[in-house]
């Protein structure tokens, strides 16, 4: 994929954690990764490989133990980077509308503009009828839509998504994947999307990066050749199956390694 500029550059990034027993766990890296402007990058890897850690470092929620990540931003937005969390991270004490509106409020947009943007995003994600409802009344899929609407309403330059559909059932997952695909293709921006689903990565991504078992490193980096705009119809393309097979073969041994690492050494 040819992208005009480079948006995110990770260089030699590692992260270790000190556990309560004061021993050190090497969770991530070293990782070198370059993400283009308006590129949709998917990151896959065995659970516990540090994908979420990498995302949190890019987000600035967590500092790397060594190395550096540079994120290019325009400097015009108060909130240049948005994140969608796996457990939604939406607030039970705010209505759906208030949740989606929060980022716009915090960036000081006038009420009329906020209302328009929120209505637009609620409509696009099928939440219009639930605008004044509290999240506790919503299903998991609805809550995740609220979370996505909140992230997109501020029109971020970079969108970080941490296994956003992991907790959803397969059908709903496909529906939301299609929605995300359509939304992104209508208005492209840089996305880093962490998932453990290879199909999801191939469907959504311009590029898929495969990470190793802990400590996670980049072990494969493939361009996804399907034309944009895509639809979920590409799932039936023979090339889709072939690419999935390739990804899985590079990932398989890592998944087993991560699994074995947690077993009794005897």
């Amino acid at each position: 994929m040819d992208h005009v500029g480079r948006r995110i550059a990770a260089r030699d990034v590692t992260r270790s954690f000190v556990t309560t027993g004061r021993s050190t766990v090497h969770a991530l890296g070293p990782v070198d990764l370059s993400i283009g402007d308006d590129e949709f990058l998917c990151v896959v890897g065995p659970s516990g490989c540090g994908k979420s850690t990498l995302l949190k470092i890019i987000a600035g929620l967590l500092a790397p133990s060594s190395g550096e990540v540079a994120v290019e931003i325009s400097g015009d937005n108060r909130i240049p980077i948005a994140m969608v969390f796996q457990d939604y991270g939406i607030y039970p004490w705010k209505t759906v509308r208030a949740n989606v509106e929060l980022g716009l409020r915090l960036s000081g947009r006038p009420p009329a503009e906020r209302r328009e943007a929120v209505d637009d995003w609620l409509g696009r994600l099928g939440l219009t009828d639930f605008a004044d409802v509290y999240p506790s009344a919503l299903s998991g899929g609805m809550r995740q839509r609220v979370s996505i609407a909140r992230a997109l309403a501020i029109d971020p330059e970079v969108l970080l998504m941490d296994e956003p559909f992991a907790a959803l059932d397969a059908q709903l997952r496909e529906v939301l994947q299609d929605e995300l695909l359509a939304i992104w293709q209508a208005r492209r921006r840089t996305v880093v999307f962490v998932t453990h689903s290879l199909e999801e990565a191939l469907l959504l991504g311009d590029r898929v990066v495969v990470m190793s078992a802990r400590p996670g490193r980049v072990i494969a980096d493939i361009d996804v050749p399907f034309e944009r705009p895509r639809s979920s119809a590409i799932r039936t393309d023979p090339l889709f199956a072939k690419l999935r097979g390739e990804l899985w073969s590079s990932l398989h041994s890592e998944v087993v390694a991560q699994f074995d690492a947690g077993k009794d050494p005897r």
């Binding site: 402007d37 470092i57 790397p64 133990s65 994120v71 290019e72 400097g75 980077i81």
Partner: protein, 279 residues
């Protein structure tokens, strides 16, 4: 694009051990320097005569006062009496509040029956009940202990009940699916889940029990630190009052600290100093 955000290791990442040590040292320094600063300011206010040092004795005059009280044994006697009363009253009240709070937290029926009545009692100032307690238990330790217990009971009851009720449905359902019975659900889910909040209540009521102690001793004026403070005031031995006040503050602090330390023994799954706040 005009700006670049850099994500780089901070001091905490580059030197984790040193950072933790430094923070531990900083915590002690900050915790000590505020009270020390207070004492210095207090002394200065007397030395520079911002206030009348006779009516507001400075810390330096408390030392002779302390020595005098120590030498005639009044200090030790008062402290021992007060500590005994407050500990007994607290234990009694906390145990009662804990049991009733847990039961009411788990039972809708008990809540429906007892909540309105209990809330009404909670708002009655317990000092107003002192005459009744004096009639029942006589003039002395028992009345003080029971009155402290009655006060602590309500604080603990409320915090324990609300802590149990706030345990999320997800935890309860998971336990139900493991075929946990009432007792097992309580033992493995409700009690541990509620424990952090319960200990907040226990710490608050540790402070309240000392508050109550001094109030009662003020009124019945027989023994203890409250009596010492009151006596100092009436006899214009203000140093004695101030020594008493400082001692009460110290006891209250150590008491709350003790409760917190006991809480840490039970609550090992959370660390208490990791709340994220924007810098």
């Amino acid at each position: 694009m005009s700006t670049t955000l850099y994500r780089r290791p901070g001091v905490a990442e580059l030197h984790p051990v040193r950072t933790r040590r430094r923070w531990n040292a900083t915590k002690v320094v900050l915790g000590v320097s505020v009270p020390v600063g207070f004492v210095v300011l207090w002394q200065l206010s007397a030395v520079l005569e911002w206030v009348d040092p006779f009516l507001y004795p400075p810390p330096s005059r408390l030392i002779p006062g302390l020595v005098a009280l120590w030498e005639d044994g009044k200090l030790v006697e008062a402290t021992v009496t007060s500590v005994r009363r407050v500990i007994l009253g607290y234990l009694l009240g906390a145990a009662g509040g804990l049991v009733v709070g847990l039961l009411m937290g788990m039972s809708r029926v008990l809540r429906a029956a007892l909540e309105p009545f209990s809330w009404a009692w909670y708002t009655v100032p317990k000092l107003a009940l002192l005459p009744i307690f004096l009639t029942i238990f006589g003039f002395g330790d028992t009345s003080v202990v029971v009155l402290i217990a009655a006060t602590v009971y309500f604080f603990v009851w409320i915090s324990v009940m609300s802590a149990v009720m706030a345990v999320p449905t997800g935890y309860r359902e998971a336990a139900l699916m493991l075929r946990a019975n009432r007792w097992e659900m309580f033992r493995h889910v409700l009690l541990p889940a509620a424990l952090p909040e319960i200990f907040v209540g226990l710490r608050i009521s540790a402070g309240v029990s000392v508050l109550m102690l001094v109030g009662i001793e003020f009124v019945i004026s027989d023994q203890g630190l409250g009596y010492l403070i009151e006596q100092g005031r009436t006899l214009l031995l203000l140093e004695q009052s101030y020594v008493g006040i400082v001692l009460v503050a110290l006891i209250g602090y150590l008491f709350a600290l003790l409760v917190k330390a006991i809480g840490r023994l039970f609550i090992r799954w959370t660390s208490d100093d990791n709340a994220i706040i924007p810098t």
